[in-house]
């Protein structure tokens, strides 16, 4: 076990919880804003775009940290199939976090719609208007958004399963609370 950390580094834990909160907010804001014509539509979509772009920057930083600092190992007694599932699901979560904002931006670019964020920051278009590209990106943003929510639910369920049913150390690896770095004799 030498070298492998027992917990995610504090910065990784901070980013995980900050981003978890923001991603869940993004998913709810997304489906909320497209189903209203009320005045709140405008602040909601402004937050959606601004936070979405901020999350794109954050996930890149997070990925860089992940590659440098690594992750604690999963419990040794976890069946290999479950371990693979855990790894794949984390990979997928990272994938969604990167792809969703790009789809959102691309969809607006392909609609010749200016992307103006909070504070009047304007992101220049990297794609020309195209009906076909807009339709593809729009559908991908909508359906992958729903798939993202389903995966987040699965992820939360798995985390709770580790914490409450298996009562192993998986939740402690990412727990936001500063805990004592304990040596687990069972390992």
């Amino acid at each position: 076990m030498t070298g492998a950390p027992h917990r995610f580094a504090p910065i990784q834990r901070l980013l995980h919880w900050l981003m978890a909160f923001c991603i869940i907010a993004m998913l709810f804001i997304g489906v909320g804003m497209v189903s209203t014509v009320a005045p709140k539509y405008l602040p909601l979509i402004l937050i959606h775009k601004t936070l979405g772009v901020a999350l794109l920057i954050l996930v890149l930083a997070r990925l860089a940290l992940r590659l440098r600092l690594g992750a604690p190992p999963l419990p040794a007694d976890l069946p290999p199939a479950i371990k693979l599932g855990a790894r794949l699901s984390h990979l997928l979560l990272y994938g969604f976090m990167i792809v969703m904002p790009l789809l959102g931006l691309g969809m607006l670019w392909a609609a010749a719609y200016p992307v103006v964020l909070f504070g009047g920051i304007e992101i220049p278009a990297l794609l020309p208007q195209s009906d076909r590209a807009h339709t593809l990106l729009w559908n991908a943003h909508v359906y992958l958004g729903l798939a993202f929510f389903a995966l987040v639910l699965l992820h939360v369920a798995a985390a709770l399963f580790h914490a409450l049913v298996r009562r192993d150390d998986v939740f402690a690896t990412i727990s936001p609370l500063p805990q004592e770095e304990r040596m687990n004799p069972a390992e």
Binding site: V31, G32, Y41, D77, D131, H134, A157, L160, L164
Partner: protein, 350 residues
Amino acid sequence: MKLPGRPERSSLGALILIAAVLGCSAAAFAFTAGWLSPGRLTPDRMIAALTPPSGPPLGHRRNHAKGICFTGTFEANGNGVELSRAKVFVQGRYPALGRFNLGTADPNAVDATVRVRGLGLQISAADGETWRMAMINPPVFAVSTPDAFHDLLVAAGKKDPEAMAAFIRANPEFAAFAAWAKSAPWTASYAEEPYNSLNSFVFTNAKGDEHAVRWSLVPAATPVPITQAELDKRGPDFLEQDITERVKSAPQRWTMVTTVADPGDPTADPSRAWPESRRKVQVGTLVVQRIEPERDGPCRDINFDPTVLPQGVSVSDDPFPAARSSVYRKSYDLRASEAADYPRSGAAKP
């Protein structure tokens, strides 16, 4: 303790808790998405109410479906700077792109059957910052709220005349628009119409002073009244032929006039005009120099969303711009996805 796959009795509570967390999260998500509230006024329901019984105009705008593109220049005279720090108010010339249109969901409507005429406009500053707007020729809007607009569409779509009568009883503000529709003279040209923002916006100048405003494009061409029957005789697409010919022979102009609200004026209700005595500032001139058919024209791909605003202009307490933005977005999503039903003529863009 840690036997996977064989939860102990104490785990049962935990499993129920997990199921409850998932169930509540999914329910909250479904509620937020409106899946549990069929009564919520969504962009989809607004679009459904706009859709004629014969079906949606595939590939076309879901409202103001018949139109023709123009390009030209906005010539700012500099007077607007006092009211708003929008860059396009600084004296100078700015590229303009727009669309003359008819307020109908039928792209093949006969001109003389459509009362409301509109103009979509985009003005671009030197740095690319854009201002989009979509204005119409009546002096007031038909209703006070987006909900009432939905009610109007539903009532107007019913065969039963009692539906419209009930709508008018519930929305007495409709009378002003109805009076205009009945008695205002028709013209035989897009160039002879005024186009009014109707919705109120807030202008902010360099000092940070804020003013609620509305604006109008007032035509330089003198309106020549014509009866609806005479217009009908000129042909189903006379307006497009007329504007094409007029612009070919000379650029057509409109003065952009901003009206500044006094405190207490009804900024949140586009069905109520402001008193004539309100301060008016001429901020520039729209010059239309070129007309192109919509099918391959530059206005086709633009969503003239009235909330695409430059720095120095923002929405007010008027609920319409937000509602319009959400519905125009959906209309754009749909018409772009149906582009194959309204193919471009050249091999240009897919």
